[in-house]
Symmetry: C2
Subunit: 126 residues, 2 copies
């Protein structure tokens, strides 16, 4: 397995574990130039992104990701990751499918931060 795929797997594991435990702690993964497009709503910057994620109208959430495909995204060491999975909120018994794409960029200190983040629920095809 290429190195970028290992980084992507580790990131995705950490991201959703953190999201499901305490969304506020995601702040360390974003920077001021990070972008989130959440169900068509664009937000820029770590503070706004975490405020958005923290204000989503559920108390409990559980992400079960099933695929995370990675590719190198730039000569500078960026990594593109596309995730598909399912999530459960609160006491809801029926999971919803979702897809999420991240571009991770090196943070200059041996780790990565989220530069691009796009999230969509995926509804069953009619």
């Amino acid at each position: 397995m290429a190195d970028f795929q290992a980084v992507a797997d580790q990131f995705v594991q950490f991201y959703y574990q953190t999201f499901d435990e305490n969304r506020q702690n995601l702040a360390t993964l974003y920077r001021d130039n990070s972008m989130l497009t959440f169900e068509n709503t664009p937000i820029q910057g770590a503070a706004g992104i975490v405020e958005k994620l923290s204000s989503l109208p559920f108390q409990k959430v559980l992400h079960k990701w099933s695929t995370a495909d990675a590719q190198p995204s730039s000569e500078g060491g960026g990594i593109l990751v596309m995730v598909t999975g399912a999530l459960l909120v609160d006491e809801e018994q029926k999971p919803m499918s979702y897809t999420q794409t991240f571009q991770l960029l090196p943070d200059g200190q041996g780790s990565y931060y989220v530069f691009n983040d796009i999230f969509r629920l995926v509804y069953p095809a009619a």
Copy 2:
């Protein structure tokens, strides 16, 4: 609407129209350094990518994309696009959900080519 979103919309419209009419013609959208990850299979280079897409085991395909969210992906003018939609193959009546992420890079001649391409079918959450 920001310019990158307009480019993304135009690209997605053209990409799926070309895919559904004649997959061989997608060759002009890729370069030798382009990457495709198609249902977990990685392929590099325009020739291999088009060979893969052309050999998919269906004669007819119709993509109906429903969302295409775009963000700037690099200082060099790259554009990240995440698509969700449904597709129908051959005489099948039941559409399948899919998601696909592209990174478009400027080709130096006023247009763009596909540098990253990741495709996954999305199955209903169990």
